[in-house]
Amino acid sequence: MNSLPPETWLLLLGILVVPLLGYALYRLDAARRSSPDDPAPDA
């Protein structure tokens, strides 16, 4: 065998995606906070 099984690759991909999801949500939060139309409650 010279590669990991497909289900293992999928799991590793999932593990990589969660921090990226966290980053996307952070950018979304930052954009929302800087928007004058929709200020965060504590901004």
Binding site: M1, N2, T8, L11, I15, P19, G22, Y26, D29
Partner: protein, 490 residues
Amino acid sequence: MQPGAHRQMTQPLTPDMTGLHLTFGLFLLVLLGIGAYFYRTTDTRRLADYMLAGRDVGVWPIAISEVASVASGWTFFAWVGVGFTTGLHGLWFSLAMLLVVLFMYRYVGPPFRRTSQTLNSQTVVDHLALTFHSTATGTAIRWVSTIAVVVFMISYVGAQLIAVGEALDTALELPYVAAVLTGGIAVAVYTTLGGFSASVWTDVVQGVLVLIAALLLPVAAIASVGGWSAFLAEATAIDPTLLSGTGGMGGGALVLALLAWFTFAMGAIGQPHALMRFQAIRSDTLISKAAVIALSFQALRLTVPLFIGIAGRVLYGEGAEPESAAMLMLADLFPPWLAGVLLAGIIGAILSTSDSMMIVASADLTKLYRTQLRAHVSEGTLLRLGRLIVGVVAALGIGLALWRPGTIFDIIEFAFVGLGVTVGLPLAALMIWPRTTGPAVLATVAIGLIGTIGNLYLFPDLFPILVWPLALAVLIGTSLLTRKPQARAA
């Protein structure tokens, strides 16, 4: 190459190993120095400063210190042991835990930070009790949840000290008992001197060293096996299921195994030492950014040790102690000075975890004393009491580490799940479900404590699958049966 053919690489100590000993000794001095520095320069006379560093900690220290604090004995021992014995099947836990951590940073952290400041709560137990502070339920919550946290924290500290003993025994060939005693005393001394400020900043240094170790160890191990292809071929030759995400299971067995991993990962919602970081962060608007850093480090430290464990199985064969594989590699694959630095980082992370846990147990017991036993007591007396409790918890942790009732994995799993059910579940419910009542919180804490112990001892094969639905049913059922909260302070 035959599995275990590398075992002879572990040689008896040579004069070169003195460098490793020296690095570790110097590290302990630096650690104590940081504690002493914060003792002299910061206002640790007030309990809130001692515990939460004045609620003024930035994003990076919070995120990295969380990694160092939750990494520790788990990353380089328990999780390596899982990789060694069962392989990449553990990635299911990694994925589940990352999702739980994201949920915590997203939905629990910000409201917890805000309400914690309103209530002036110092720990999660304090928070649960203060939320219902004007009722008898609040008092009962404080008693029961303090007992639960102390029980699980002592177990946790014990597991960390076993890891210290294993590390120093394996890498430095120090006697296990002496290593446990040294680690326990060192962390008690620097925790009592510096409090949370010391632990946040020492955690940052150790978090970076843990990261370096986590990156270098698998690279060196896989290179020494002969590269990535040789690593895959040898691992498959030893056990074809090692690299499989299903662990070679199917049907009901796979479902049960996945449920066990998911319910274990759920414990991440209630680690009081990690939750304290939400309370200590400067503003809840920073939590979203801290989440990205924490998730990245978590992804790394939840994945890499499994590969280290498999490499350990290839290098040392089935006869080696699974949870010591990373330490064997550290001693075998790196020059002594580098091994010494990395070992220092790993031991430091373990001690940090212990220190964060001792601070939490100390804070909860101190607050219980002040609120329930003796109302009029000076801050100075409380601080001294807090430090005394740190010493006692360290002593009990040392006792547990010498007793060794299970593997590091077993003990951490027990404490991790126990804390998740008893304090994490009620806290998360309070943050996201306004219908949660005081009696429901109290019942969940009590069922969490009893249920975790009962699940482990009566149905060990189904641990920790049973305790979660039980606690959740109690939480929801009691909330629906009792009146909507009137005395909620926030």
